[in-house]
Amino acid sequence: PAPQLVPDEPVPLLPALERVRVATTTSLYDTGLWAHLEPMFEEEFGVELDVLYAGTGIALEWGRRGDVDAIATHARAREEEFVAEGYGVERVVFAYNYFLIVGPADDPAGIKGLGPEEAFKRLMETGAGRFVSRGDDSGTHGKEKAIWREAGFDYEVVRGAEWYIEAGRGMGPTLVMASEEQAYTLTDMGTFLAFKADLDLVPLVTEGDILLNVYSVIAICPERHPRTNIEMANNLIDFLTSPAIQRLIGLYGVEEHGMALFTPAAGMEGK
């Protein structure tokens, strides 16, 4: 389809191909899922899909400024706020998996097998072992804060603790740091599997409702940003939630890791 230009807008300097831009969270990108899906989408719709690798914060910021057409993130509260503010059309869930708490094999605080809230309580009470936090306001960091809250702690107190390290970096480097320092950390499944071979860490806490990690996609609201390629943004959402692609998402990673990295979740907006 021909590019849809809003008439009273100046003609862009480099019109070239029709491009659709989606800003995506790092954990989704690092698993390679996007690289897998991108050519299929481009093939189907005859456009260039630009996948921008971003943290949740900057992805939302780009969305607010109209620099992308859609965002794919995993931070429910912030996503809902984004939609409520009128920047996003609608939050559409398309997959989920679980966070897990990993740590050194000798597990100095003895959290193995506990629930996530208990594990964090244990860390706080014993002070044995260290904990590396993303510290970057990412979706994962948001989840970590939520667990601290559920465990009954004031986050400001937690981050003041001597054993609490704020890495201020993405998931991969945070895992590397945790491994180097032999510390605990909260990670998403995909990134952990991708890095596992180089890490000296084992999964310790894997069960608990709070560990649920939901990925959703949001089209940018064309009323706010008239130049949004809303047609293709909608196509992308339809594509991700289509049964064929949902099936592919459900199988992704089995070959390489022996287990699926994601569970398809189209239609599970309540999560």
């Binding site: 807008e9 100046p10 862009p12 300097l13 480099l14 019109p15 491009r19 831009r21 790092t26 690092d30 690289a35 991108e38 260039e48 630009d50 996948v51 921008l52 690798y53 780009w62 400024r65 109209g66 620099d67 993405g170 991969g172 480097p173 895992l175 590397v176 991708a194 890095f195 180089d198 940003h225 130049r227």
Partner: protein, 230 residues
Amino acid sequence: MTEIGQGFVKALELIISLDPEVMEIAWRSLRISAASTVLASLICIPIGGLIHFRSFRGKRILINIIQTFYSFPTVAIGLLVFLMISRAGPLGFLGILFTPAAMVVGQMVLITPILLGLTISALSGVDKAIKDTAISLGATEFQAIWAIIKEARYAVMAAVTMGFGRAISEVGCAMMVGGNIRGFTRIMTTAIALETVRGELELAIALGIILIGLALIINVVLNIIQQRYT
């Protein structure tokens, strides 16, 4: 450390197999950085000449400020350029955010202080007698500036080389305004950064080696040209 060895092996593999993605990224890196260096040089060398040549109040302060901007972090420059060309920004209508054009602009902004500052200090190295000689032989201001630049050509070339080096090796700004889009704005450094955070250290090292190899080739070529024409 074995990663470094393996990185070398991988680099060789990638080069020998002419891995199309790597080749494409390398070529893009080169084009973008060359474009920004050439454009920035065309602007900065004459301006640097003018600043060197004229004496005016606040000249020292101006040079000081230029040198200060050596310390301008690339991420901050990226951010500024981003704010300018993002759709909500004053130049948003150009629609160049997340395109190679944006990266060229970003790199130009990035290396302008270096090119200016180093050009000025290269020219300060030229004997004042050269300026006097040119002027007394009837040169106009610009002709005299050109004569001084020619005298300092090695040092000016070194400044340009440095500018190119900085452009091709920086990542913060390219990431910010280019977006590291595969097949479109992904260049060597953003690719390295990506592979690094993804834990693909060997691949990152291989790309680093290829980048350095490229830079070496360019340097050698420039040197040969320089020696031929002087």
